[in-house]
């Protein structure tokens, strides 16, 4: 199966990925992002979503973890990373292992 990538985010920062061959979906707020993701989830196998949107859509995005595809991953936006992506990893680690083996805090 061939896959396609998409990126959902706010601002123009995501435009740079358009040149790299990623479909871009600029959105203004979480509500729009949620609608967009829902719409494109069937067509795109990998969806990048900017952190500021992802952190407010946590519960919604969790639903996609049941199946292998689509893969939805947060990426930092132009403001920089707030550590949301790491936080996702940390939560997964705590749930699975119950101890902190990576972050040591």
């Amino acid at each position: 199966m061939t896959g396609k990538t998409a990126i959902v985010g706010n601002g123009d920062g995501i435009m740079v990925f358009k040149a790299a061959g990623v479909a871009t979906f600029p959105v203004e707020d979480e509500k729009k992002a949620e609608d967009t993701v829902r719409k494109i989830a069937k067509d795109y196998q990998i969806i990048f979503i900017t952190e500021d949107l992802a952190k407010n859509l946590r519960d919604f995005l969790k639903r996609f973890d049941e199946e292998a595809y689509p893969v939805i991953v947060s990426i930092p936006n132009s403001v920089g990373s707030e550590g949301y992506g790491m936080n996702v990893l940390k939560t997964a680690m705590e749930r699975a292992l119950g101890v902190d083996i990576l972050f040591n805090n």
Partner: protein, 206 residues
């Protein structure tokens, strides 16, 4: 621990013994599965962490660079320059089974080396070229991160589910069965003693 609500008969005892054997075996198997899943999970988790660090750092740089480029060009020009993507990412999406969990497996097909920029050099500042080139380079790493991170999340879920199963067997099922078996054994022994005593009494009276 509450015992099961069954009749204290030999039939039931035999049935329960069978169930206990199955439960114990299942418990052992699930525990082994859990151990192996955790081992794999730890490996992938470490990989994901270093990938994420790399992506976040590089992406921050790219976006900074790009915002410089954006500030040097009018939004309209920028829009037109990027309106037509020239590159195309080709992916092959498959699934791979890690301990019975289907996780995504994505391979980036080698794309043809075409002119990577969607615009003419004269159109836009050099910062844009640089950030586009960087973004193109980073994309495979990001895709790898996506794949790993998904695997981490799916495995975490499965490990948790499995742990619940192991615990249910270890702390509920097995003790319950053991207690019920003991109860039936006691009851049967009691019945036996009662009948012996009854016989002795009948004989003494007669």
């Amino acid at each position: 621990m509450a015992r099961l609500n069954v009749n204290p008969t030999r039939m039931e005892l035999k049935k329960l013994k069978g169930r206990l054997a199955t439960a114990t075996r299942g418990h052992k198997l699930l525990k082994d599965k859990s151990d192996e899943m955790i081992r794999r999970f730890t490996i992938i988790l470490r990989e994901t962490k270093s990938l994420r660090e790399e992506v976040e750092q590089r992406l921050a740089e790219i976006l900074k660079q790009f915002s410089v480029a954006r500030s040097l060009t009018s939004p309209f020009e920028m829009e037109t320059a990027f309106a037509m993507p020239s590159a195309k990412v080709e992916l092959t999406c498959e699934t791979e089974s890690i301990m019975g969990v289907d996780v995504p497996k994505i391979t980036v097909n080698d794309k043809k080396k075409t002119n990577a920029l969607p615009y003419a050099f004269a159109e836009i500042t050099g910062e844009a070229d640089y950030s586009v080139a960087q973004a193109t380079e980073l994309l495979p790493v990001m895709i790898r991160l996506a794949q790993k991170e998904k695997a981490v999340r799916m495995l975490a879920e499965e490990i948790e589910r499995n742990k619940r199963r192991v615990n249910a067997l270890e702390y509920v099922m097995i003790p319950q069965l053991e207690e019920t078996i003991k109860y039936i054994k006691d009851k049967l022994a009691e019945n036996e003693r009662a009948s012996v005593v009854r016989l002795m009494k009948v004989k003494a009276n007669g």
